[in-house]
């Protein structure tokens, strides 16, 4: 089959790899009908997170079940399924606690899981899913309308991750919210905050098209300033003290600093931006202001059951974050478009 490999800095290739095979009895093979490129894929692509040798890549996909192991019970051949951006069994204690990204048996796409079985990357024709019953969610009603596909695909990562940012930031009915980051996750964070009942949502963005999308998703205000000026502007908007909740959806030291200093005393930062360069948090500042920090790698599998009905009904339309669609054969161009910020997020079809 064809699958995407990262060979090195800005070197992405679609190549022939071995077809996946069932091997454990609890696995499944999925034929990928849609996948996409994640902002976090760009870290490796840009050489910021160096990786050794060619590496399978892609962790957001959906598709049709081609075959299942003999002990798989929740999914069957022909089902249309969504996978989260990782593999998990949904039966271990961490999965049951709501944190399936800490599954004791699962792992990451494009790598061996904790039980030693290989999971293919998502940007390819087929994927072996090691824990089929845990990882895969069947979309009711069979193959969905083409128009629904982008929205469903966000449940694999960005919509669930935005939801995790909002939950981690303690967003509830009536909360005042600031979202740092106007990428796909930040924009989904706006949707999530609105969905959870936030009374006011500020999107920090300097890009007209992203500002417009943020407003479509429920942002009530836009702030273009950054750094000290941005914090000052945010304070002015919220009684001179700042908002209840800040969603940090970037992952740089600068953006976390922005988030931490924007929240009101006793407020909360929910963070989902993958932190790079081993950043740290200033504990003394947190102590003095009682601003909490919580978040991390989002357990999106635990959120799919809650979010899927809202996607199917059209109540939320997170798929609008996709602004480019390409065939898998042009995966290299998909990366380049996102790297050069010509696209927010690219959807790939076979």
């Amino acid at each position: 089959m064809q699958a995407t490999l990262l060979h090195g800095e800005r070197d992405i290739r679609l190549e022939e790899v071995p077809d996946p095979k069932l091997s454990s009895g609890i696995d499944a093979i999925v034929r990928v009908t849609a996948s996409c490129v994640c902002g976090s894929d760009l870290w490796g692509y840009r050489g910021v997170a160096p990786s050794r040798g060619p590496k399978r890549i892609g962790h957001e996909f959906m598709g049709v079940v081609e075959s299942v192991g003999d002990r798989v019970g929740n999914v069957k051949v022909g089902d249309f399924v969504i996978a989260p951006f990782y593999d998990c069994d949904m039966t271990c204690i961490n999965c049951r606690n709501g944190f399936s990204t800490s599954c004791l048996h699962g792992g990451w796409w494009g790598a061996d899981d904790r039980d030693g079985g290989f999971a293919d990357g998502g940007q390819g024709e087929f994927v072996r899913v090691p824990h089929a019953d845990g990882s895969l969610t069947v979309v009711p009603g069979g193959t969905p309308d083409a128009a629904l596909v982008p929205h469903l695909l966000t449940l694999a990562d960005v919509m669930g991750t935005g939801h995790h940012a909002a939950l981690s930031a303690g967003v509830r009915e009536g909360s005042t919210v600031v979202v740092v980051g106007d990428g796909a996750v930040g924009l989904c964070g706006v949707i999530a905050a609105k969905r959870l009942g936030a009374s006011r949502i500020v999107a920090m963005s300097r890009h007209a098209s992203r500002q417009a999308l943020a407003r479509t998703f429920g942002a009530t205000d836009i702030v273009e300033e950054r750094g000290r000026d941005g914090i000052e502007r945010i304070r002015e908007l919220f009684d001179g003290i700042g908002p209840d909740s800040v969603l940090e959806c970037v992952g740089t030291e600068e953006s976390m600093n922005q988030a931490l200093r924007s929240a009101r005393p006793g407020g909360q930062v929910g963070f989902v931006g993958v932190p790079h360069q081993a950043p740290t948090l200033p504990l003394r500042r947190m102590f003095d202001t009682n601003v909490g920090v919580r978040g991390g790698v989002a357990p999106v599998r635990n959120y799919i059951d809650e979010l899927l009905p809202d996607v199917l009904s059209g109540a939320i339309q997170p798929g609008l974050v996709f602004d480019l669609e390409l065939p898998l054969s042009e995966v290299a161009e998909a990366y380049a478009a996102m790297d050069e910020r010509r696209a927010v997020k690219v959807l790939l079809r076979p």
Copy 2:
């Protein structure tokens, strides 16, 4: 009047200072009937947090109202009152949000408040309270029984601070909890966790007397190990993954590290130990495990109304953390006893 001053490292003196005077119309003078020494007072005493010149000290006190400004409405001459470990107005937006330690007008005992009026230290004969209506809580029923005084006095700081640690750590009905730190605050953290319905509470302590008190307060298990061994032991006790909530009640880098590594994936650290030496938190570890960190300088004034009835009824007995009582004239010995760990916490009477 007589008041306590910190002159330098291990140099505490009771000296004659000017009697406080009403000056703002919203202030009160309180005759102190009981005060105490805080673990955080020891940082200055030990020279870890150096201070310039003689400095008034003491921030936990209760007493009888001697006089009030003409615009004070909530307290009157003769009332028996408890003060929190800081001054606050309870009307500004931060106070109303539940974070009176970030009061826009209040300040700290032994220093000028944000409006420029001096607040005496608590370890003295009298204290001028700048925001009397906000800071002071009247104990119903007039002068309390002597036996109740230690318990009431903990509402000025340690009991409210332990409660804040537990709330910040997300403790609720059925939570599994570890408390790092067996000082007065840690022990009050055990009380708070029990009161909030924790199903299992581990106290980390190496001192037989503190272990016994922790058990009296509701600890179900004691762990003596620290560092890597301590984390290992805690994991064993909680399904191999750790507890839901960890209360960090020390304030060193070592204790925070212990706390952060002990919590289960998706768990929460509530921290109230005053952080020294500008420690930082490893954001990447928090990201990978989804362990949140929240806490800080405890808004105990916001908690007094909730905790006072349980103290008055005897449902909780936090005053048991006092294991030495001295006259104010022996304040230097009080500090020495705590510094040398001969006492957990010392109560001072006039």
